[in-house]
């Protein structure tokens, strides 16, 4: 059968794919206009703070790995190492009263939202001082105060929930937005398509961020998605699709910033595809045999933290030494969090029967 006019080739032409920026290594020499604007917008202090936060996430995740190996953390553990720019860059661009929902890979997101590491580590240790009182664990961080709507175990389960928060924003006529983070594997779940369709139909202020770390569990992206450009999916649902280099902190920030500002004025959904790389396996129990060593080493050059460190040095906003100090500080915070978790008590057994039903 000859391809019809709705065959793949013609479809791609008609859908006008977004232009993907070529990944680069951040340097004052290669900043584009927008990135320079961002630097002006943020200023040194804010950028250093973001840098620090990225390192906190990195240190925190490394400590988790260690704690897991010491059997202090049990169950499932999904680490965010390598994806720090996405969480920190994008969440710096939104307000505290905006809604956030994500998958089980939620440590980085929670820290980027400004939730302190202590209750998070305590949650991982299953203690009563944990952010979910020890009853959720690694995959189920929730914060009413910061509007973190979980931490979801079922792939894609958070997508309609986050969309529902956008519904509330629309219903209550606020200018809040809802960010829904998920991996590219979740995009193959039916519920993504249901939610995206409804979000576009009802013009809900929902920002879908697909963190494309190239692998869905152990299966590489090319083997699970019929299209390699995920922003095409946005076209399919009549919403804007925005590709982002997920290793570039500045780009993560400015794309989210621009998308959100627009959506606050004119509610409607958007899809941001952030191409990142996950250094570790899918989860702690995944030895990541499916990757090649060279592949991993190549991407470590584009480590988002290293990029920002170099940029800060180039800008003379933070010397190498101060950088190292900041890193030490971040590492200490992570260790302190572990200490806190160690010293916290186990939940009282009465917690077992608590919060099954609301009063």
């Amino acid at each position: 059968m000859t391809p019809t006019s709705s065959g793949p080739k013609n479809q791609q032409e008609r859908a006008k794919p977004a232009v993907h920026p070529a990944p680069k290594l951040l340097s004052v020499k290669n900043l584009i206009r927008r990135e320079k604007d961002v630097l002006d917008m943020l200023g040194r202090d804010k950028l250093v703070e973001m840098f620090h936060r990225m390192m906190l996430i990195r240190a925190f995740e490394q400590r988790c790995e260690q704690a897991y190996q010491q059997r202090k953390i049990g169950g499932f553990l999904h680490l965010y190492i390598g994806q720090e720019a996405v969480a920190v860059g994008m969440l710096a661009a939104v307000r505290e009263d905006d809604y956030v929902s994500t998958s089980y890979r939620d440590h980085g997101i929670a820290l980027a939202m400004g939730i302190p590491p202590e209750p998070l580590m305590a949650e991982l240790f299953g203690k009563s001082t944990g952010i979910s009182r020890g009853k959720g664990g690694s995959m189920h961080f929730y914060s009413k105060e910061k509007n973190l709507l979980g931490g979801h175990g079922i792939v894609g389960g958070q997508i309609p929930v986050g969309t529902g928060a956008a519904f509330t924003a629309r219903y209550q006529e606020t200018d809040r937005v809802s960010m829904v983070f998920f991996g590219e594997g979740a995009m193959q779940q039916g519920v993504f398509h249901e939610s995206a369709n409804i979000a576009a139909l009802w013009q809900l202020p929902c920002i879908y961020v697909v963190e494309n770390n190239q692998y869905a569990m152990g299966t590489s992206f090319e083997r699970t998605s019929a299209v390699s450009d995920l922003t095409l999916r946005a076209q399919g649902y009549n919403m804007g699709g925005y590709p982002v280099d997920g290793m570039n902190l500045l780009e993560c920030f400015h794309v989210m910033h621009d998308v959100v500002e627009e959506r606050r004025k004119h509610p409607g959904p958007a899809l941001i595809e952030a191409k990142t790389y996950r250094y570790r396996g899918h989860s702690i129990s995944d030895p990541a045999n499916y990757r090649v060593k060279e592949e991993v080493e190549g991407y470590q050059k584009v480590d988002p933290i290293e990029q920002v460190r170099r940029l800060l040095a180039e800008l003379k906003w933070l010397s190498e030494d101060d950088s190292k100090d900041l890193e030490k500080q971040a590492r200490k915070e992570a260790v302190d969090a572990m200490q806190y978790a160690e010293e916290s008590p186990d939940p009282d057994l009465s917690e077992r029967d608590l919060h099954v039903y609301a009063d």
Binding site: K135, G157, A165, V191, I198, L201, Y357, A358
Partner: protein, 328 residues
């Protein structure tokens, strides 16, 4: 103290309307609830009254819109999700179980999910296997959910209001075959508490436990029981979970004989749970083992005669009553 004689479906409509007037956070979403005025006309005129912001027509995306409702419930709203029938709620089973039932617990008490999931459930007339599921025990299984199934218009209205006001996810299973029943209801506002059974008919020979359409069926068959000289005490649980074992136990203490009737299947059906509760509580009050009358063990067929042969009938309940009375 006025009364009104209305249809069962109107009673549901009134409950939703009253609650939506009372609380601006309450809204209705589902397929055909707005412009179409409801697949079964339960939401008649609600779009006109409340507008499209609060009466929301959805695409056919049960998993999606149920999850959206959950997200809305987590962020300050009180959604009523209508399933055109509960068969389709199974598409949303993941969101209902993973999120609606468990979020309060997993978040350490931070996020209650005040929502109602309602619609007709159970067999209708020759709608065949995929449209005839009785899903009550599936949902009652998970702690965190409440499950309600009224048999009269009075109960339906009162319980739906309570469900909407409840801060938990309430699975509210109606029955299409009851929507057209007329009943006299009070004009003034009232609620019926969740978790309370009711003795619908007082009797002395045997306790028949039935809910939803089955309770209605027994109410209509009392004469046949009388002809057989069987004095039936009909206990309608009204709420499946949490189950009011106290009322049931009091009846068993009185009659010493129990027949449990349900439209669903036998294995792991709601009746199995009720029987377990009775055996645990009322062992010394029983003069005979409990007899259950249920849907037979096959998917419901289309053909009228075998459909009828698959479902409970008053004659079967009478036989069961005789069995526990040792009159067979």
């Amino acid at each position: 103290m006025g009364t009104q004689t209305i249809f069962f479906r109107e009673a549901l409509n009134q409950a939703m309307v009253e609650e939506m007037e009372r609380d601006p956070a309450v809204f209705l979403m589902g397929e055909e609830v707005g412009q179409y005025n409801g697949a079964y006309k339960v939401s008649l005129n609600m779009l006109d009254r409340f507008g499209p912001r609060r009466v929301v027509d959805t695409p056919i995306s049960e998993n999606g819109f149920t999850g959206i409702a959950i997200g809305a419930a987590m962020t300050g709203l009180r959604p009523i999700v209508e399933f055109m029938s509960f068969n389709f709620a199974l598409v949303a089973f993941d969101q209902i179980v993973s999120n609606a039932a468990k979020t309060l617990y997993m978040s350490g008490g931070q996020f209650p999910i005040p929502m109602v999931l309602r619609g007709p459930g159970g067999p209708a007339a020759q709608v065949a296997a995929q449209h005839s599921n009785v899903v009550d025990s599936l949902f009652a299984y998970f702690p965190g959910l409440k499950v309600v199934s009224p048999s009269t218009a009075y109960d339906a209205k009162g319980l739906l209001k309570s469900a909407i006001r409840d801060n938990n996810p309430v699975v509210f299973i109606e029955n299409e075959m009851l929507y057209g029943l007329k009943e006299e209801l009070p004009e003034e506002e009232y609620t019926v508490p969740i978790g309370e059974a009711e003795v619908k008919v007082q009797g002395s020979d045997v306790t028949v436990i039935a809910y939803s359409r089955m309770a209605h069926m027994i109410q209509g068959a009392l004469e046949e029981f009388a002809k057989e000289n069987i004095s039936v005490e009909l206990v309608d649980p009204r709420t499946i979970r949490p189950l009011d074992v106290d009322t049931i136990a009091a009846s068993v203490a009185k009659t010493h004989r129990v027949v449990i009737l349900e439209e669903g299947h036998r294995f792991c059906g709601v009746g199995a749970q009720i029987a377990d509760d009775i055996y645990s509580r009322c062992f010394d009050d029983l003069d005979a083992p409990i007899v259950r009358v249920t849907h037979t063990d096959n998917p419901l067929p289309y053909a009228k005669n075998i459909e009828a042969a698959s479902l409970p009938s008053p004659a079967q309940v009478i036989q069961a009553a005789k069995q526990v009375l040792y009159r067979l």
